[in-house]
Amino acid sequence: MIAVIGLVVGVVAGLVLQPTVPAELQPYLPIAVVAALDAIFGGVRAMLDGIFDDRVFLISFLSNVIVAALIVFLGDQLGVGSQLSTAVVVVLGIRIFSNAASIRRHLFKA
């Protein structure tokens, strides 16, 4: 639970402080945000399943974001950046959908 509180505090601080992202990191932001969304949906589902764990959540969040950005970076270097971005978005999108469906079942029993 402490991770969720920390995350909320961080988001609020970010909205207040408006930090700037270095220009070199800009291309990886969209994919990183999608990866973060995936981790968040996974965390919410785990919470509803009753198996949520702070450590697992944070590590999955960070590793998702870093791996997604790394894949895009690699793709850019190899000249297949857009294709690899699509692959990442497809995989993460399916996971987000299935987690969202699970959350929905938990909340609405339907």
Partner: protein, 365 residues
């Protein structure tokens, strides 16, 4: 049927084996770490919850949250950058407009100065000459003028969407040209459109959806102000083709047309008007047309010895104020005379100045 075509899968192979990738993605959508951690907790082998560990988790979570919101804000940046560029362009437009207005003011001040100097050169002796020069300057649109006149206001049709590209509902350059020509032929002595003086060299044309008068973009409603007898102007305009055009604009296209007599209009001056001309290079002429060195250099410049040789470049560089002074007929107030006056300006530009009507100061310009 052979086993090859059997519909039952071989033992040990799943029926959806060809979709393992999708199945894998779909079924393992939840990180396995959660289940493993839960199992460890249930077994009592999970790591103990130390305070330091909680602090690390909190710090990392705050950092991750901060980074996430920073990323989300940064993803909005492109629109902010576009807005910035737009504001920069707007600021640049305003600045340049102000610069142009300042330069125009300078032109007006300098032409007033020029007129004063010209008057001083002419001297108090020749009042008629000075008046003629002043009248010519007014006629050429150099000096600001005030007086009664007619105002024709044209406004785009109310439904006209500036982005829709419906040209018929907008006031176009042709409309303004016809109205201006109608006012000239009705006896207008000076005309300005939205404060932009119309002279004999003014071009009214459109570029995109904007109407340019002397390269200055104007936006509607367009106020065409003409100095002259208001009653004469109004009746003249109604008889002219411009009157028919205005009626058609109002009834067919819904363009707002408002004609009003004004007791006092004040039109700005256009500043110095530079007349341009072209000459045929001598070597481009056919042999029989080339002037022979022994012959009289030019028939229409009999007294031109003091202004230069017959190659004719120095005397052609006289500016328009001197040119206006040259024109023998400067009292132009009727439509026909206006046309004649314009023609005379052109003729004066095309002709070498003859010595008989030159002012004392002219040769020094």
């Amino acid at each position: 049927m052979t086993t090859r075509h059997s519909t039952t899968p071989p033992a040990g192979r799943r029926p959806d084996a060809s979709m393992t990738l999708l199945n894998e993605v779909y079924s393992s959508s939840l990180d396995e770490g959660y289940a493993l951690a839960a199992a460890r907790r249930a077994a009592g082998t999970g790591p103990r919850q130390y305070t330091a560990r909680r602090a690390v988790v909190l710090v990392v979570a705050v950092g991750v949250g901060l980074a996430s919101s920073a990323a989300a804000i940064a993803l909005h940046q492109p629109t902010a950058a576009a807005q910035e560029a737009r504001e920069l362009l707007e600021k640049s437009i305003v600045e340049r407009n102000e610069e142009a207005a300042a330069l125009q003011e300078e032109v007006t001040a300098l032409s007033a100065q020029l007129a004063a100097l010209q008057a001083a050169l002419v001297g108090s002796g020749s009042t008629a000459l000075r008046e003629a020069a002043a009248e010519g300057a007014v006629e050429a649109g150099q000096l600001p003028v005030t007086g009664p006149g007619l105002r024709v206001e044209l406004a785009d049709a109310p439904a006209a969407d500036p982005d829709a590209g419906d040209d018929d509902a907008r006031v176009q350059d042709v409309d303004l040209q016809i109205v201006v020509n109608g006012l000239w032929s009705s006896g207008a002595e000076a005309i300005a459109i939205n404060g932009q003086r119309v002279t004999s060299t003014t071009a009214i044309r459109s570029a995109g959806s904007a109407v340019l008068v002397d390269l200055v973009p104007l936006s509607g409603p367009y106020r065409v102000e003409a100095l002259g007898n208001p009653v004469d102007l109004q009746t003249g305009l109604a008889r002219d083709t411009a009157g028919q055009l205005l009626t058609a604009l109002r009834t067919t296209y819904g363009i707002g047309v408002d004609i009003s007599r004004q007791d006092s209009l004040s039109l700005p001056g256009a500043g110095q008007v530079t007349l341009r001309y072209a000459v045929v290079p001598e070597d481009a002429l056919p042999q029989e047309l080339r002037p022979t060195p022994a012959a009289e250099p030019s028939t229409d410049a009999p007294a031109g010895d003091d202004v230069g040789s017959d190659d004719g470049t120095s005397e052609f560089s006289l500016d328009a104020s001197a040119r206006v002074g040259d024109a023998p007929v400067v009292a132009v107030s009727s439509g026909e005379a206006r046309v004649a006056g314009s023609a005379q300006h052109a003729a004066a530009a095309a002709r070498k100045p003859s010595g008989d009507v030159r002012e004392p100061g002219e040769g020094r310009s």
